[in-house]
Assembly symmetry: C2
DNA sequence: GCTATTACAATACAAATGTATTGCAAAAAT
DNA sequence: ATTTTTGCAATACATTTGTATTGTAATAGC
């Protein structure tokens, strides 16, 4: 029998191929054959690791979240003793499609969004992801309020919602060029100015 | 030869079928055969009115904008002498997926968004639509500032961007249930409270 | 009345797709 | 040393898809 390999690694490699294809041409470009080619394996190998195409896509969606955290951590490690504002800005910068990788991620996210209209499992996973992200973001702002980093904000929940969903709203239009990256960052920075001391 | 019919009407009927299919199952459900069936015509008829599937989708995207305006007008007609705030709220209420039709429209919009990653024409049309909508919204808020309807806002452009993209950001998560409709409306109303006298 | 045109309808066709199956060689287990 | 297991690879198959083509009957134009 062949050398035993790391299944999770193989699956991740395939997921990365999925992201590249979506990022370049959208979800329609994700056929098993295309994924296999992009991943540098045979279609039989793809089928070895994923029972169905849906399995593969669902895995890819879940894995995407996993791989963002190290990137965020890495960005934070570059900031010496960051304030909440700086950490918040770093996180937002990762979410907005400002560089190649974030652009890919934003594209993939929207593609899965659209895909979720015909797929309950995908939609559940997205919902769960959104809630977790929003809650973390809200809690972070709440902590900042308690430690006096915010200006006098009456309603921290409202402020948290405004910031979070403002960023969500900027992603799509920035992706398609309805808004420039610079403008998007300016809007966010102005908002942060209004929130933080 | 058969009785001459209204081409545009036929095309619109087909576009409506496209929306229904997307709304129910996402863009993957939009095959020519499915559209024909949903529209109550033969596939030959669909091909008679649209040379290619892409033509059909592009038309559907364009037509969607056209058909929103009468709905907005109708909502405004129900308001006796509306303030800018009331008009703004009416428009936002139409954009958020609060009722069946708005939900369908939001779904279709995201579907086209995702579809645009593999289609330059679709993306251009979306971009154009976003820009027009944003500009109208920004101008409306600017007018309100000049006529004294707003609180003292330092930067009306920033305020306009915040309101517009906050709403954009609420659509997706509301659609998938990551956020409740009630919460979304509350966030918007609070934002309007902060902007308008 | 005759001809041209139109609105469909039906069908063909090539290509693409996901699922399923079989095969093989090398490593792991005994 | 033998058997079992594993990671692929290759292929088959049924289904679906968009594009293309042909046909027909009824209306419009002259």
């Amino acid at each position: 029998m062949p050398k035993v390999v790391d299944h999770e690694e193989r699956r991740r490699n395939i997921a990365e191929a999925v992201y590249r294809l979506i990022g370049a041409n959208g979800m329609d470009a994700v056929s098993l054959r295309d994924v296999a080619q992009e991943a540098g394996v045979s279609m039989g190998a793809v089928q070895h690791y994923f029972k169905t195409k849906d399995d593969m896509l669902l895995f890819a969606l879940g894995y995407m979240r996993e791989r963002v955290l190290p990137r965020l951590q890495s960005a934070l490690d570059k900031l010496p003793d960051p304030t909440t504002r700086e950490r918040t800005r770093a996180a937002i910068t990762l979410m907005l499609p400002l560089d190649k990788q974030s652009t890919q991620e934003a594209t993939v996210n929207i593609a899965f969004f659209a895909n979720s209209f015909g797929n309950k499992e995908t939609q559940a996973k997205l919902r769960e992801g959104y809630r977790a992200l929003y809650e973390a973001s809200r809690q972070s702002l709440k902590d900042a309020a308690e430690s006096g980093e915010l200006r006098s904000i009456e309603d921290v929940d409202q402020a948290a919602a405004e910031l979070f969903y403002l960023v969500q709203g900027l992603i799509g239009p920035t992706l398609i060029g309805a808004m420039s990256k610079k403008e998007a960052v300016t809007v966010v920075d102005n908002k942060l100015d209004a929130l933080f001391r």
